[in-house]
Structure formats: C-alpha cells, structure tokens
C-alpha cells in the first residue's frame, strides 16, 4: 500500500517528563513506582518499547547499568536545566533508537516540586518529540502555572494530569441505615457505635456531606457559587485507590487510570460522541457496550441532550448507569413532559440517578453540550452537577430553558448535536461518533388524482395538532442535517438505524436500544472502530528502531533502505538509509560488536561500490560489518539490519 509515498524518518524515542505541582504534594506520591507501572502499562497495553530514567543526585550510587536507568546529577551543579538537558540529549543520541517512549521521573532531585520549572526547560531543544505531564490535584494549579513557574517553553508539549480524590459518598442516608443495622446486629453495639462515631468525626464525614448537599441544592436551583472549577479541557484524569504501586490486590480503578494515562502520553486517546435525538439516543447504550466488548477503550465522552445522558450515566456508574437509563425511560419521559412548565423535577431525578456526581469528578471526562441562548454559541460543560448539566443539554424548546448562573441554556442540538470537534480539542486522537437522529417516518399520502377541495387543505394547514407535528418532524430533519455535518471530525461515524423511529416516545427507549444492538449498521461501525483502534496502535510509517529483544532493526513500511543513483549517475544510499545507518552505527560502536546487513535482491552496484558507502554512513569499520546477500523472489531491493551483541 502506498509504496511510492515516503514519510519522515523517526529514529528517536519520544521523551516525557513527569512532574508534580508542589500543591499536589509530590512528596506523598510514590512517583518512581507510579512511573514504573506507567511504563509497564505502555509496554503491555500499547506494545511500545518503553524505558524509565530517574533523575537523582549522584550520591553513593552503584555503577550505572546499560542502558542507564538514572541521570546522575552531581551535587552543586550550578545549572540543573543545562545539565539535565545535556544528559537527556546524550541518552537520546545513544539509546533513543532502542525505545519508543522514554519516561523521565525527577523526584530524586525534585522531591517537593520546587525545581519543576528548571526541569521543564531541560526538555526544550531535544532532538526528539518532547512532552511534560504535570500532576495536579486542583485545576488552579494548572491555571496558575505562569504565576508559579513563570513562562514555559512552547516547544514542549504539556499535558495536565489530574489526581482525582475518592468519589464522594452519594447516598448517605441509605448508607447510614445500612451501617446502623450492622451496628445494631453486632455483638457489642455500644462500642461499635462509638468507633463508628469516632471514624465519622475523624474523616469529617458529615461536614463533607453537608458541603456536598449545599453544592447540589444550590446548583439545581441555578447558583454557580459552589460549582467547582473545571479541569483544563485536555486533562487526563486519574483516580487511584490505595497505593497505586501495589500490584496485589489488583484494583480496577488503578488499572483503568494507568491505561488512560498510557494512552494520553502516547496520544492514543479515544473519544466517543453520542448525538442528541430524544429517545433515539438510546442507541448509544448498545453502542458503548459493544465498543467495550470489542476491546476499544473509551477515554473521553461527549454528547448533547439524551446523548449526554447516556455518556454521563456511563461515566458515572459504568454498566449500572446504562441499565438505569434503560429501566427508567418512562421516568425520563414524564420528566420531559413536566419540563414544558418546569424542569426542576427532571433535574432532581437526573442528579439522583447519577449519584449527585459532579462532571469534574468523573475519571472519564464527559463533555455535556448545550447552547447559550444569549449568544447562540455551544456551551461545553465539564464541571458542575452532572444532573444540572444534562438538564441544560436537554432543554429543547419549547421545553423550558435551564439557567446555570445567569446563562440561559438550551438543548445542545441546535449548535452541536453530535459534538465531535470538541473531542479532538480535548485530546482524542480517535473519534467514534454515534449519529442518533433518524430519518423521519414516512406516512402514506393520497395520490394527486384524488380530488380534495382547497378549503379542506387550508383547514388542515391551520390545524394546530398537525402544525405541531410538522414542527416536531422539522426538528428531526434539521437535527439530522446538523449531526451529519459533524461527520468530518469523526474517524468512525455510526449512523444508527432502528426499524421504527420514535424520538419523542420515551417508553420506546428499551426497544430502540434492542433494535440498534442487533442492527447491521452498529456491527459495521464496531468493526470499523476496531480497525481504527488497531491502526492507532501501529507505529509511524517512517519509524525505525532497534528491538533489543530480537536485535533486529525494525522499520516501518515507509522507510526506504537501499541505493539510488544521484544526478551525476553515481551510486549513493537513500537518505533514509544514510540517517538510519548513522544512528545504528553509533549504537553498534557503543554497545554491540557487529552490524549484520542482509542485502535483499540488491542489484549492482557491486560490493566494491556499496561497502564504502555503508562504512562511511555507519562510521563502522569493515570488520564490524557483516554482509549477507540474499535473493528473495518478488521482494523489492532493499537491505535489513541486525545487531550482533
């Protein structure tokens, strides 16, 4: 495929430095262990060769390993930035070709985060792809970086990584009743009750619950006073339970967090958008389930109207959330009906059904899209009470609008029914979209040959029921057009189909989900999504690396190794071969004995011509080069490289 197209040669690992904001209390984080597990996750889940470098003070350390696991900084080094930069560049030159990803962990010289800026600047100007992942516990720690760290290099990709706290207690009264029963049924209720009370006081359980309750109620009634600040749009969110470096027992939340982080570091995040279409958005339920069953991760969700409901229910509660939506379609339907005059009852129900969670607390960022009535702009909500955000996203006129603060919000459909572009902005490399708006149901009409007096037609056009019905169907037609317009940003576009469409009939939600689950269009979309996900796991077409496990020099399909005639009809190496031989030659000179070159179907030049070329490019002597000519019928003329340790 595309054998005549060439791509940039990538011979060096990407380098990512993991730093923690002083406010994130890096001293309390087991960063070396966390980064090590992150590297293992990248290796096992994404098949990238990964290495970890720890930046430490050079004090009483054992002899360095090969490749080195540490950058050893002598005490009293006057300029940490320059020293670390030079060491990283040295590692990049020596070992960059042997890895896909190098993670740099700095807690050895920077235990409290006070030298973040110096280390950040050390990444500037390296001859490889560079990025910094910055751990934060509060959005302001990221928002204030110019005030705390000063100006940071624009040439280094930066990525906020949020360390979320534990999920807040949702149904306290219910939990208390259960705990009360346990205390009463214990052998010594009095001492059990005392212990329970002491624990509650120590953890400020009731105070936290009271604060949360105030935040919930105030937000439901449109106040933004207690609305949390949003994380930056592209933030990777981690939620660790217990010690994240403890391998046993395996904690699913920790495994999920490392997976999300691994995909974030390597730019392989997957975003799923679910379009708003009333009850038809129930097609999103089997869509998510089948994506998960196909092994496709979901890192970010977005949706408008009921599509946002599906996304947020899943992000908040997982499968339980999807089931809750399925079993409560009638409840939502009644809520929508009452929303003709007041949507507070539905807001309460949505908040309860999502465990009163805040969008900023979701480990899978969920973007609920609504439209700002005053400006006609889409509003991408990533923080605030989920139930309120979902209600705003579903406030389709003529149902009442939703106020958040003084902003009057309408349904997300008029501005972004299928929010795909925002997923790219949030860092999704692969966008999978479910377009839920159906084609309107067609009804039989009388043939033109049947005579109907004009006044009857005129009477029909004035019929308010028929006009309302036409308006409703016009909505669907317009929304479908709008949603189709979002296809350009989606890598996979699932145009949902069901046998009968009924966007306004909520009782039909389960039937819609069932029909979609068994539809050919969903099966096709899942197959395509799987192909796209597999493609995301591939290397760059121009990638070349040394696999230290096999000693092979592995090259992507766009790497051209061979010979060509220059304009003066003299043989020379292809430019890819020239660069790669230089890199591999340096590696062999430092860490191996011989470079084996298998010449496959190489026509003239003769050995007398090409051997000096290879020697010059690799910088190796003839004794360090071993040529093996081979004829492979049908294969192109090229050569492959192998390291002899």
């Amino acid at each position: 495929m595309s054998s005549d197209i060439y791509y940039p040669l990538v011979t060096r690992a990407a380098m990512t430095m993991v730093l923690a904001d002083p406010g994130a209390d890096p001293a309390a984080l087991p960063l070396p262990g966390i980064v090590q597990i992150l590297a293992q996750t990248i290796e096992t889940e994404l098949d990238d060769l990964t290495w970890v470098l720890h930046v430490v003070w050079d004090v009483a350390l054992p002899p360095p390993t090969t490749p080195p696991t540490e950058i050893r900084v002598p005490f009293g080094t006057p300029n940490l930035t320059v020293f670390v930069h030079d060491q990283l560049q040295q590692f990049c030159d020596d070992w960059g070709i042997a890895f896909d990803e190098v993670l740099i962990e700095t807690s050895g010289v920077n235990p409290d985060g006070s030298r973040d800026a110096e280390l950040w600047w050390a990444m500037d100007g390296l001859t490889c792809t560079t990025s910094v992942d910055y751990l934060i516990r509060d959005p302001d720690q990221w928002n204030e970086l110019p005030a705390t760290l000063g100006l940071l290099p624009a040439s280094v990709h930066s990525q906020p990584v949020a360390l979320l706290g534990p999920m807040p207690e949702a149904h306290l009264v219910q939990t208390l009743l259960i705990e009360l029963m346990q205390i009463l049924s214990s052998s010594d209720p009095a001492s059990e009750a005392q212990l329970w009370w002491q624990a509650a006081i120590a953890t400020q359980r009731f105070a936290r619950w009271r604060r949360r309750w105030i935040a919930v109620v105030s937000q439901i009634y449109s106040s933004t006073r207690f609305k949390p600040k949003p994380w930056s749009l592209d933030t990777i969110r981690l939620r660790f339970e217990g010690d994240p470096t403890a391998a046993v027992p395996p904690v699913q939340a920790n495994l999920d967090s490392f997976g999300r982080w691994a995909r974030g570091i390597t730019d392989r995040r997957v975003g799923v958008a679910i379009g708003g279409a009333g009850a038809q958005s129930y097609v999103g339920i089997p869509f998510i389930e089948q994506l998960r069953d196909a092994g496709i991760p979901i890192d970010i969700l977005s949706g408008s109207s009921t599509g946002a409901f599906v996304g947020a229910f899943y992000a908040a509660l997982g499968d339980k959330g999807l089931t809750r939506m399925l079993f409560n379609s009638n409840t939502i339907g009644w809520g929508v009906f009452f929303a003709l005059v007041d949507n507070i009852p539905l807001t309460w129900w949505l908040s309860w059904a999502t465990d009163f969670v805040d969008l900023s607390e979701l480990a899978q960022p969920t973007i609920s899209v609504s439209s700002i009535a005053q400006t006609g702009e889409p509003y991408h909500q990533t923080s605030g009470l989920a139930g309120k955000g979902l209600m705003a996203s579903g406030s389709l006129p003529p149902f009442v609008a939703t106020y958040i603060g003084n902003t009057r919000l309408l349904d997300g459909g008029p501005t972004q029914d299928l929010p795909t572009a925002i997923l790219n902005a949030a860092g999704a490399q692969l966008v999978i979209a479910a377009q839920a708006v159906p084609k309107v149901q067609s009804f039989p009409r009388l043939p033109d040959q049947v005579p109907i007096p004009y006044f009857k037609k005129w009477a029909l056009t004035l019929n308010p029921w028929l006009r309302g019905f036409d308006a409703y169907r016009s909505y669907l037609m317009l929304y479908r057009q709008a949603a189709q317009g979002e296809e350009q940003y989606a890598d996979v576009f699932y145009n949902a189909t069901t046998r009968l469409s009924s966007a306004g009939s909520w009782y039909a939600g389960p039937r819609i989900a069932y029909e979609a689950a068994n539809s050919q269009s969903l099966k096709d979309a899942i197959i395509e999504a799987k192909l796209e996900w597999d493609a995301l796991l591939e290397d760059a077409p121009g990638r070349a690396r040394i696999n230290r496990g096999t000693n092979q020099v592995e090259t992507g399909p766009a790497v051209r190794l061979g010979f060509e005639l220059d304009p003066s009809v003299v043989w020379r190496l292809t430019p890819h071969a020239e660069v790669l031989l230089e890199e591999v030659g340096r590696y062999v000179a430092n860490f191996a004995t011989t470079l084996k070159i298998t010449l496959i179907n190489i026509p003239p030049p003769d050995a007398i011509d090409y051997e000096p070329l290879i020697e010059a490019a690799s910088g190796l002597s003839g004794a360090q080069l071993n040529y093996v000519p081979t004829i492979l019928p049908g294969a192109p003329a090229t050569f492959s490289l192998e390291i002899v340790p």
Partner: protein, 317 residues
C-alpha cells in the same frame, strides 16, 4: 487552594526572549531579532469564556497577542468549522490583522492587500494567559532596526491564518494527512507562512545571491515575502495566481485553491533542486518538510497519524 494572582506577573526580558524563541512563529530567529518585541510585551490574564474580540475590532485597538498558557477557541465567521476544531494553545499568535493594517498604513510592501477579514469569535477555554503588544507600541517594535525580521514573520502568517480553514480542508483530503486531527493541522499551519512568487522576485535587492540556499537555511519563515523559492520539499497551497513547482524529476502546476508540490514526502531532497515560479504574481501557503519535522517534535502523535490507516501493517478484513 491557592487563589489567582490579583495582578499577572510581568516576566523579565530574558524570560520573554527565551519563551519567544520556542514559539513556532519565531523559530530559528535570534535573540536580537525578538528583543524589541520582548521589551514591550505585557502579560495579561483572562478568565474562562472571555470573549477576546468582544466587538468588531478596529486596528488601532487590537493588540498583538501570544498565548503564554491556556487555550482559546478560534472561529472565523466565514468558516464552517465547529467550535473546538481550531484551538489556540501555548505559542499561538493572534491579532495579526492589526499588524497587517498597521503595515498597510505604513505602506510596507509585504502587507496583505486583502479587504477586511471576516469577524472572528475567540473565546478563552479556561483561564488564559496572554502576552500582549499594545498597538501604540507597533512603531517602536517594528520600525526598530532589529524589528524587521519579526515583522516579516508576522506579515507572512497573516494570510495563512485567513485561509487556514481552506488549507486544512485541502490537507485532510490528502492520504498523508487524512488521519491527522483538525486541531493538529491548524497547529501545523502555524509553521506555514504565505510567500509571494513571480514579479515580486524582480524586486529582490541585487545583492541577494541567486543560488538556492543551503537546505539547513531553507526555512521559509526566514524568507519573508520577498518571493524566494523554497529549495527543499514543500507543499504549496496557492492563494493567488498560478504557481509552477518543480524539481529534477517533475513539474507541478498549481492554480488557486490547489494543494501540491513534488517531493514533500520524497526521501531524496539532497540532489534535487526545488523551485517554485510564477508566470505572474502568485502567493502560496508553504509547508516545508522541515516544518513538519519541527512539529513532530512538539506533537507526540503527529508522526503516527501520517498516512492512511493500516499503512504500518496489513489489515485483515
């Protein structure tokens, strides 16, 4: 929790220079080149959702802005892109229209002679830190003896920004860039200046060397609008006129709205001399292989996104 600083800190000149030299727009400039700009920049802080062009901006009121930290959405009224497709991030420069208007008023030949650009909606997405150059300082910076290089850069980028949605659409229609996400392509275009070809070549000073420049110096951002040819592989998106781009092996003729150029993905740039010429005046957005490589270094997923799906391994249907 710490609170936001009541007054944005003002970075010192050395920090500003160091930062400016890492921005895509000013890459490969020298410290003296950016010094006049660094002396006049002021840090400003905007809250989430701030509309940075809250009214129809007039040239004498709009500053030149450079994102120091944070994100902002950018939506020209004449573009069909959805909100989120075009995002300004650290190092992005905006407010170039004001620079162009200033250059027109000063009768600087390389100013873009376009009518008023379409209104733009630019909103902060989260808190935004911006370095600003106030319009009253344009003269001080750009008329400064050292300010010419930076002025040329900015003027080169103005037409690229105006036409970016069209260029991005054209890039996405190529097999090489079809999988690259839209925000990444807009970011890539921050390294793609608009150059002029044709009659303007005649206006070059006679002391300019006629030989093509060495590849390592062949950065179009350094060439300004004087109409020199890019001598390394590049993609051209023609905005005006007819452009003929050739190397030793082939010649490509490009009209308005066409994207192309031999050898952008060739691996044999050393022997081939690339040249772009126009029979009449022509202007084109130029994206060189070197710019693409620079962007790959700052964008972790870009190299992998190049090329059609399944290029790197056989796809089993």
């Amino acid at each position: 929790m710490r609170t936001l600083a009541p007054k944005p800190p003002t970075p010192d000149k050395a920090s500003l220079i160091r930062f400016l030299l890492t921005c895509p727009l000013f890459q490969r400039l020298t410290e003296p080149d950016v010094e006049p700009l660094a002396e006049r920049l002021q840090m400003h802080h905007y809250e989430d959702s701030t509309d940075l062009f809250s009214r129809v901006a007039t040239p004498d009121s709009t500053p030149l802005r450079l994102v120091a930290h944070g994100q902002a959405s950018w939506e020209p009224s004449n573009s069909s892109e959805q909100k989120g497709a075009w995002m300004l991030t650290t190092g992005s420069c905006f407010g170039l229209s004001a620079i162009n208007d200033w250059a027109c008023a000063k009768k600087i030949p390389s100013a873009w002679p376009a009518p008023d650009p379409a209104p733009v909606r630019c909103n902060a997405v989260g808190p935004l830190w911006v370095l600003e150059l106030a319009p009253q300082h344009f003269d001080d910076v750009f008329m400064h003896p050292q300010g010419n290089a930076i002025c040329s850069r900015l003027l080169c980028m103005f037409p690229t920004g105006l036409n970016a949605p069209r260029v991005v659409a054209a890039l996405r229609s190529t097999p090489q860039f079809s999988r690259v996400t839209t925000p990444k392509l807009y970011r890539l275009l921050e390294r793609a200046p608009t150059l002029a070809y044709g009659p303007m070549q005649l206006e070059q000073p006679p002391e300019e060397p006629e030989e093509p420049e060495e590849p390592e110096d062949d950065d179009p951002q350094q060439l300004g609008l004087e109409g020199k040819s890019v001598t390394s592989p590049a993609l051209y998106y023609v905005l005006e006129g007819q452009l003929t781009v050739s190397n030793d092996e082939q010649t490509v003729s490009l009209g308005v709205g066409e994207l192309g150029g031999p050898g952008m993905f060739d691996d044999s740039p050393q022997a081939n001399q690339f040249a772009a010429q126009a029979t009449d005046e022509a202007r084109a957005v130029v994206l060189t292989q070197a710019s693409l490589l620079d962007q790959i270094r700052t964008d972790p997923g870009l190299a992998r996104a190049l090329g059609p799906r399944g290029l790197s391994k056989a796809v089993d249907p």
